[in-house]
């Protein structure tokens, strides 16, 4: 048996604290990027050209839109517009899926060219390329993993709104889910220029 109470601010605080842990998690990888970029500027510059700026930009825009839709879903539920809120949450999930599909094709193209962690081709290209693509796959991979988790989280939010567990005066969970999604967006906002815009 435990003591149960409702504390929306506490719940929000817990979510923010979790977001901070994610920032530090990716922070370690950003440190690694900073160090190796500093040590291999030319190679990173050249390796960056292998990435498709168009797809990267499209994906960035997709995530930004998805951030807006999930934010709006909270406005909707606050205004008791349940259907609209559900539509917006659903849209966010669909956009996430599109992002992942793009990623799948991007990675697929790289694999076909022999570019993957530990590949001989990368070894031949040299240190800078190995490190650049090692970081690329690791960081975008970890990010994609978080997108998948995010989709699951938003899926749960969709369900909770549907069954009226979340309503106009009880929606902290949805807000928390939205916060998580914005985090995923934030990380990509930095990944994009660091990998796609250094050519």
């Amino acid at each position: 048996m435990s003591y149960v109470h409702r504390d929306d601010t506490g719940s929000k605080m817990a979510m923010w604290l979790f977001i901070f842990t994610e920032l530090l998690l990716f922070g370690g990888l950003f440190i690694t990027y900073a160090v190796y970029r500093y040590l291999h500027p030319e190679a990173f510059h050249l390796a960056g050209q292998e990435l498709d700026v168009t797809i990267g930009t499209i994906n960035t825009v997709i995530l930004l839109i998805s951030s807006a839709t999930i934010a709006m879903s909270i406005t909707a539920i606050q205004q008791k517009k349940k259907k609209l809120s559900l539509f917006l949450i659903g849209t966010t999930i669909v956009l996430a899926l599109i992002f992942l599909v793009n990623k799948y094709f991007e990675w697929g193209a790289k694999f076909e060219h022999g570019i993957f962690p530990g590949s001989e081709y990368l070894d031949q290209l040299g240190y800078g390329d190995t490190l650049f693509f090692g970081l690329y796959f690791f960081m975008t991979g970890l990010h994609a993993f978080h997108i998948i988790i995010g989709m699951a989280v938003l899926g749960f939010m969709f369900y909770f709104v549907k069954i009226d567990r979340l309503t106009h005066d009880n929606f902290q969970l949805l807000e928390n889910g939205g916060l998580y999604w914005h985090l995923v967006d934030l990380i990509w906002i930095f990944l994009f220029p660091l990998f796609y815009l250094i050519a």
Partner: protein, 536 residues
């Protein structure tokens, strides 16, 4: 004392069943007090294994040459000893056991902010610790890299690294979630009237520790993930053959592992700050300074990690910066020591066993801290880095610091937790024998280190033999003391004399409720109108 409206309805939390039987009363309970004890029992269990590994090392080192094991076995022994002691014992130790038990009581709350998450954190702890201990039996042999898993050896070694690394990774989540829970609890659930500056010092240290658990752990999490990536995919992050830099691994590892030692020591200091005023019958000297020092240690502690890497090949600028900050971070700790001693000055000292632990804590912590300055100064560090001196230093400050505070806290809050008093005579005996053994075991290491005996070697030159004998015997004495302490506590928990609500005359909230407390701690949440540690 106020009237309790329903006195006859008092029920000890230990008698609550939540409708469950046997072990399920425990492992399905979200009561922070039971969870604290779940941590206590699991931690003590793993501690025995860690101690056995330590004793095996001391037996090997009792004479030069191979005594009971060869180099490979020795390497594996100190590795798993370190991983267990660091990740399974001292990092969770005080926060998970006493933070869990005491925090809600001391701030006037019925539980932590997220009781179910709290229980889940313990499950994660159990899972992670089983993974780590399983590495002893893993195919390929237990890991032999040292608990620090330095690259590139950690991904090149043929021993089975995965259970230990994965285990440490999983344990990190337990730490993070515990810290998260405690931070929200302290922000949101303090009793009415308990402003931040009216909160006792132990919760303050739990607060600072919570932030370190939250923010530093993810960095080692990602680092261990990268090591696993190296082992499986050969990515190249830390492999010089692929352009990686092993020193980067050390940076990433120590960015967590240095703040981790503040996870170990801050709650220890908090416990000492609780114990000393009670047994000096005097209010803590410099409450505000201790609060500021606590937060200062937590904050500055993030920026000193390079002092573990002075001989690694870092730039001169980095060397200078880290050494300077290391000296700066020592200051708030020194302020605390000064304040504890000042609290005792002209107090009415009662030499109960918790006080003995606290007083001896100050001594061993001082030794550990001062030898830390020897290591923090660049010129002297070059001479003693990777020698037995370092081993002596961190055992004095971690085992001496966290360990002594843990025993002190255990004896101090024992009557509250179990509603029984321990046998004071045996407790005193255990303490004395332990202390003597402790100093005998770790003291010679400073001498040996300065004379040049390396650490993590199963063998040594004959000239180091004498002090090593002393050290190994110290170990046996210390373990004897430890056994006495543990047996005494186990017996007393079962059949010790019943204890009253406030056997020590403590002033904080936990002493205002029955021993043991009821399930929800308070019949009515109190309103606070005075500062902690107030003695007339």
């Amino acid at each position: 004392m106020s009237e309790k409206t329903k006195k006859d309805a008092y029920k000890s939390y230990l008698d609550e069943t939540g409708g469950r039987k046997g072990i399920f009363k425990w492992i399905l309970s979200t009561d922070h007090k039971r969870i604290g004890l779940l941590y206590l029992y699991s931690i003590m269990g793993w501690f025995f294994i860690g101690v056995v590994l330590g004793v095996l090392m001391k037996l090997e080192l009792i004479a030069p040459g191979q005594t009971i094991m060869g180099a490979q076995a020795y390497n594996a022994t100190f590795t798993v000893h370190g991983v267990i002691m660091i990740f399974l014992i001292v990092i969770p130790g005080l926060p998970a056991v006493f933070g869990n038990f005491l925090l809600p009581l001391q701030i006037g709350a019925p539980d932590v902010a997220f009781p179910k998450l709290n229980l889940f954190s313990w499950y994660i702890y159990v899972f992670g610790s089983i993974l780590v201990v399983s590495s002893l039996f893993a195919g390929g042999g237990p890991p032999d890299t040292g608990w620090t898993f330095y690259a590139p050896y950690s991904f090149k070694t043929g021993t089975n690294m995965l259970p230990a690394v994965l285990g440490a990774f999983v344990l990190g989540f337990s730490s993070i979630l515990t810290g998260l829970n405690f931070i929200v609890t302290i922000h949101r659930m303090r009793a009415p009237g308990m402003t931040w500056m009216k909160m006792p010092l132990f919760p303050w240290t739990i607060y600072g520790t919570g932030w370190i658990q939250l923010l530093a752990t993810p960095v080692v999490g990602i680092t261990l993930l990268m090591v696993i990536g190296e082992r499986i995919f050969n990515i190249g992050f830390f492999d010089p053959a692929k352009g990686g830099d092993p020193i980067l691994y050390q940076h990433l590892f120590w960015i967590y592992s240095h703040p981790a030692v503040y996870i170990m020591i801050l709650p220890a200091m908090g416990a000492i700050s609780e114990i000393i005023p009670t047994f000096a019958k005097k209010t803590i000297y410099g409450y505000r300074a201790i609060v500021i020092s606590t937060m200062a240690i937590a904050f500055v502690g993030y920026f000193v990690w390079g002092h573990h890497m002075f001989t690694s090949g870092m730039s001169g600028t980095a060397l200078f910066t880290f050494s300077l900050l290391t000296f700066i971070v020592a200051i708030p700790s020194a302020i605390k020591v000064f304040n504890w001693v000042s609290t005792m000055y002209q107090g009415s000292i009662s030499t109960e066993v918790p006080f003995l632990w606290a007083a001896s804590f100050i001594f061993v912590f001082l030794v550990g801290g001062l030898t830390g300055l020897v290591l923090g100064a660049l010129a002297t560090d070059v001479h003693v880095h990777d020698t037995a001196f370092v081993v002596g230093h961190f055992h004095f400050i971690v085992f001496g610091g966290t360990g002594f505070a843990f025993f002190g806290a255990l004896h101090y809050w024992f009557p509250k937790i179990y509603g029984r008093m321990y046998d004071k005579s045996w407790a005193r005996t255990g303490w004395v024998i332990f202390l003597i053994g402790f100093i005998g075991l770790y003291g010679p290491m400073f001498y040996l280190g300065m004379k040049g005996m390396p650490r993590r070697y199963f063998d040594y030159l004959p000239e180091y033999h004498g002090p090593n004998i002393l050290s190994s015997f110290g170990a046996l004495i210390m373990v004897t003391g430890f056994i006495i302490i543990v047996i005494n506590l186990i017996n007393s928990a079962r059949s010790g004399k019943k204890a009253e609500a406030n056997p020590w005359g403590g002033t904080n909230l936990e002493w205002q409720v029955p021993s043991p407390p009821s399930l929800l701690n308070f019949d009515e949440i109190p309103t606070i109108d005075k500062a902690p540690y107030k003695y007339d």
